[in-house]
């Protein structure tokens, strides 16, 4: 019994330690390098999300919600539960979309616009600055308490669809992702960590 609980205890202790130590260390204005290093500390995480899309042809924004699961370094799962169950899994360079009985497997390289959007989330969660800077220009505002990371596409093909992506976070946790499309449509995804952090 004790042997089984021990690793869990150790993990909790580490999280506590991180929570105690980080505000002191991060008091100064945040640099991109520091933010990325902090984000990279989470090898995996599960969260719930709520996404609101504002589309010009629709009178009201549409909402969807579900779960996010990230496993470093390269796997991101977005499981939409409402309004329709749908799964999107990005693993390495392969994107799998499942909706109803349909399953589509895409290679990221072939869909730069879609890839750009998803990669922004994955690379940020992984704290992978190199991956982000391959596709975006990065700008960071705020301090460790509350920061805003703005991504602007470098590739004009991506830029034709995505105007910019704004990520907001607190400490080492991403709280929201806002994608502003070139045609003015936008989506805001707010991320909530479940109470006990895994």
């Amino acid at each position: 019994m004790t042997r089984l609980t021990r690793p869990r205890f150790r993990l909790c202790a580490l999280v506590w330690l991180a929570l105690l130590v980080s505000p002191i260390v991060q008091a100064a204005p945040l640099s991109i390098a520091q933010l990325m290093a902090g984000l990279a500390k989470h090898p995996q995480g599960a969260a719930t999300f709520t996404e609101t899309k504002t589309i010009s042809i629709l009178d009201q924004p549409i909402e969807s919600s579900g779960e996010l699961l990230f496993i470093a370094p390269a796997r991101l799962e977005k499981r939409t539960l409402k309004p329709k169950p749908e799964t999107m899994v990005l693993d390495g360079d392969t994107l799998t979309l499942e909706r109803g009985r349909r399953k589509h497997v895409l290679q990221m390289k072939d869909y730069p616009e879609v890839a750009g959007m998803i990669e922004s989330i994955r690379a940020t969660l992984a704290g992978d600055r190199k991956a982000l800077e391959r596709v975006y220009h990065l700008a960071l505002d705020g301090g460790h308490e509350r920061w805003t990371l703005t991504l602007t596409p470098l590739d004009p093909r991506v830029g034709a669809v995505i105007a910019r992506i704004r990520m907001e976070g607190v400490g080492n946790v991403v709280r929201s992702v806002e994608i502003i499309q070139a045609d003015g449509d936008r989506s805001l995804m707010t991320i909530e960590q479940p109470a006990p952090q895994r």
Binding site: K78, K109, M117
Partner: protein, 788 residues
């Protein structure tokens, strides 16, 4: 004497004319190696379909190409370059490697005709409620990650018909894209799929297509920036198989005939020690081979490669007659006439028994087998006739061969003691019978694949590429027949509805149908009628948007499109041209012999197989609809041949017995002649079974040959009076005759072509055994007397 000489000259002249005629026929003969020889002469509807599919169906026209070695970007770039070159080549109907070549045109075709093509277009869907739920679905989709891709379609296609069509088209699994080109699942190989214009049975055209692919690949390699020699091209597909098997058969037949001729010539030279004897001895053989090919050509219109391979082996049998003439006669010309008087009747009877055996094959519904029968009969008659009537006149006065009396005398002594082996031989025979009876269930291989000349390595490559590609194996087909295109398409639509329920139940992964791309006129009209007139649709749309976050003004383009679709010209086959759907319709909708046919290939669920019975049962109520399991059908076809061949062979045996009875009028004598042959056949069968070789049709032909050749030996050993000894010369001639036969057929045992190998492993040991059994069980005058 003068009279005789004149007759001889006449025979020679006739013979030369005959040879010229044969050469003339052969020069205009068509040689084939395709599967036609394995197709029945009077097919059932299922078999006819199988034949059509094998010879020029969609599956027969596909060539799967893999590019291996080098790195992924190089492979993808090679694939793109090869595809670009071949798309400009008229040899290919389509060249696919995952590049979106027709994508624009396909999209435009689907979008412009979405209200005629989509099975979701029904009156209910365009009611206020139907529109409301369809719009709701479309708005839900906007919320999904795929929403980005469908956003622009919403105003024109709010009911999502385009998406319906796209999902239906993508129902087949496609390989993944790596660097913009298809690649295998493990990523180690770039993949391409080509469809040739020519039928798979057109081996020359397939060879041309293969050469074009190879050339395009080599050119792409040359232009690639260095460091790519490690890249390799592999190809597979039914057409590729027929080309490689033709090459294999051609190469093997050529090599085997050269080696076997050299071997037999060496053997004869050792025996005769005379070049002129060798040359003269081969004359009947050559005449027989020419006559055999010419006869098959006249009788069947074409000669199959396997028949030629069989002919190679028959050299060893046909040469026997001249051996008998040279060895058995005394060393002077007078005795050649004497030989004719003394031994020709025996040999003539031997030839007749052989013919009786082979004649049964002529009745076979399996053209390949009938060809062998005709070849053997024509070849043996000619060889024996030339030996009897032409060869004696051609022998020079001073003709003599090496004196073989020493060998003959030794053989005489051996034969006299052979009786001592009766008990051991009887035990061997009993054991053989036991083995055959014990293994009777697994003696025969009734899979048609056992006849395939394709090597195991090629089959494995094919399986691998097919799995990578997710290519349909076209095992199960539903076939709809009718008098015209419309009726066939209508029936295909009814079948599709039924199959769709099977898909939803998970019994099937999917299916294809030409009606998917080209709906029947009636269905297109129904779909048009499902679209309400504009004012009606406007009112319904206003009701439908209530409660949804959209305004009806957004859908003005939708109103315009549906109004246009209501009076749109109906789709015809020609409208599909230049789209990827054209290929599917060409392959699946066939007009042949004044009859229309629609093919609906079924795909098994992933990791499972299709349970044929419920589908067959569900379809049985429909007229002119056929459910075909291609593999079971071809196996059934082959096992039918096998059963028929077994029956015919037994018939051949009966014919031999009847012939011998008619000649000798003594059942005991006939039994004595037949017994060693039956023993040899039984022992060979047991041997094959012991070595785990399951018998195919060609083993059976081999057994028939054992009986035919062995009958000569048995006849020589058979004497009405056991006290007349067999001349030592006769014994020597039998030994050499059997040696040449073993040499000819033994070589075949080393062939890669399973058909030829089967013949070799049966005949070579069988002939030796027939000789031994004949010697061992011959009536022994001396033994009887000494015992008495």
């Amino acid at each position: 004497m003068i009279h005789m000489r004149r007759r001889g000259t006449a025979a020679i002249v006739l013979w030369l004319i005959f040879l010229l005629a044969c050469v003339g026929i052969i020069s205009r003969t068509h040689f084939t190696t395709d599967l036609s020889a394995f197709m029945p002469r009077t097919p059932t509807p299922e078999q006819q379909l199988l034949m059509d599919q094998v010879s020029d169906g969609l599956a027969s026209r596909l060539i799967l190409v893999g590019i291996e070695g080098a790195d992924a970007p190089t492979r993808a770039s090679l694939s793109r370059q090869v595809a670009e070159r071949l798309r400009a080549d008229r040899t290919f109907v389509s060249v696919n490697n995952g590049e979106p070549v027709n994508a624009e045109r396909d999209r435009a075709f689907l979008f412009d005709n979405r209200y005629l093509l989509s099975p979701a277009v029904t009156p209910e869907r365009f009611s206020a409620d139907g529109l409301n739920s369809a719009l709701g679905d479309s708005i839900d989709l906007l919320a999904s990650p795929a929403g980005l891709l469908v956003k622009s379609l919403l105003p024109r296609d709010p009911t999502g018909e385009m998406l319906q069509l796209l999902e239906q088209l993508n129902s087949g699994t496609q390989p993944q894209l790596v660097e913009g080109a298809w690649a295998s699942r493990d990523g180690a190989r770039a993949l391409m799929l080509m469809q040739t214009r020519a039928a798979g049975s057109d081996t020359d055209a397939q060879q041309h297509a293969m050469a074009a692919i190879r050339q395009a690949f080599d050119q792409a390699l040359d232009q690639a920036p260095g460091a790519t020699p490690s890249a390799q091209l592999v190809m597979t597909g039914p057409g590729v198989f027929s080309v490689t098997s033709r090459d294999t058969i051609k190469r093997q037949v050529t090599r085997l005939s050269i080696i076997s001729l050299a071997l037999i010539a060496t053997l004869l030279l050792l025996v005769y020690r005379s070049f002129s004897a060798l040359a003269l001895g081969l004359l009947p053989v050559i005449s027989g081979a020419l006559a055999g090919i010419a006869a098959v050509s006249l009788g069947f219109g074409a000669v199959h490669g396997i028949t030629l391979g069989f002919g190679t082996a028959l050299i060893g049998e046909a040469v026997d007659y001249s051996i008998y003439l040279f060895v058995q006669s005394e060393q002077n010309s007078a005795d050649h006439q004497n030989w004719i008087k003394r031994l020709w009747p025996t040999i003539r009877l031997g030839v007749l028994t052989s013919i009786a055996g082979f004649a049964s094959l002529l009745l076979s519904g399996f053209p390949g087998l009938a060809q062998l029968g005709l070849y053997a009969i024509a070849g043996l008659i000619t060889a024996a006739t030339v030996t009897r009537f032409v060869l004696p006149s051609l022998l020079p006065v001073s003709f003599r061969i090496h004196d073989l009396s020493a060998i003959g005398l030794t053989l005489s002594r051996v034969v006299q003691r052979a009786a001592a082996l009766r008990w051991p031989a009887a035990i061997v025979l009993l054991a053989a019978c036991a083995i055959v009876v014990d293994n009777r269930a697994s003696l025969w291989n009734d899979k048609i694949a056992s006849l395939s000349p394709v090597s195991q390595a090629d089959v494995e490559l094919d399986t691998r590429l097919r799995a990578d590609m997710g290519a349909p194996d076209v095992r199960y087909l539903v076939v709809v027949s009718g008098a015209n295109q419309e009726s066939v398409l209508r029936a295909a639509e009814r079948v599709s509805t039924l199959l769709q329920t099977q898909v939803e139940q998970g019994q099937l992964a999917g299916f294809e149908s030409p009606s998917r791309y080209l709906p029947s006129v009636a269905t297109q009209r129904e779909r048009q009628a499902s679209l309400p007139p504009r004012p009606v649709l406007e009112t319904r749309l206003a009701q439908a948007v209530q409660g949804l976050p959209v305004r009806e003004q957004l859908f003005t383009p939708f109103l315009a499109d549906t109004a246009a679709a209501r009076s749109q010209r109906l789709l015809q086959a020609s409208d599909l041209q230049q789209t990827s759907m054209a290929m599917a319709v060409d392959a699946l909708l066939i007009q042949q012999h004044g009859q229309w046919r629609a093919l609906l290939p079924l795909t098994a669920p992933e990791g499972g197989s299709i349970n044929a019975e419920p589908i067959r049962a569900a379809l049985s109520a429909m007229p002119d609809v056929l459910f075909v399991d291609m593999k079971a059908e071809s196996d059934r076809l082959y096992s039918g041949y096998l059963r028929e061949a077994i029956a015919l062979s037994l018939g051949g045996l009966v014919a031999i017995i009847v012939l011998l009875l008619a000649v000798f009028r003594s059942p005991m004598r006939v039994l004595r002649i037949i017994a060693p042959l039956a023993a040899a056949v039984m022992t060979v069968t047991a041997g094959l079974s012991l070595f785990g070789q399951q018998m195919i049709i060609l083993h059976l032909v081999g057994l028939l040959l054992v009986a035919a050749v062995g009958s000569n030996y048995a006849l020589f050993f058979d004497r009405p009076d056991p006290r007349t000894p067999i001349l030592p010369r006769t014994l020597a001639s039998m030994l050499f005759a059997s040696l040449t036969t073993v040499a000819g057929f033994g070589l075949l045992a080393f062939s890669d072509v399973s058909l030829l190998q089967a013949l070799g492993v049966t005949v070579a040991p069988g002939v030796i055994l027939a000789l031994f059994y004949s010697a061992i069980f011959a009536r022994q005058a001396d033994a009887c007397q000494s015992n008495a």
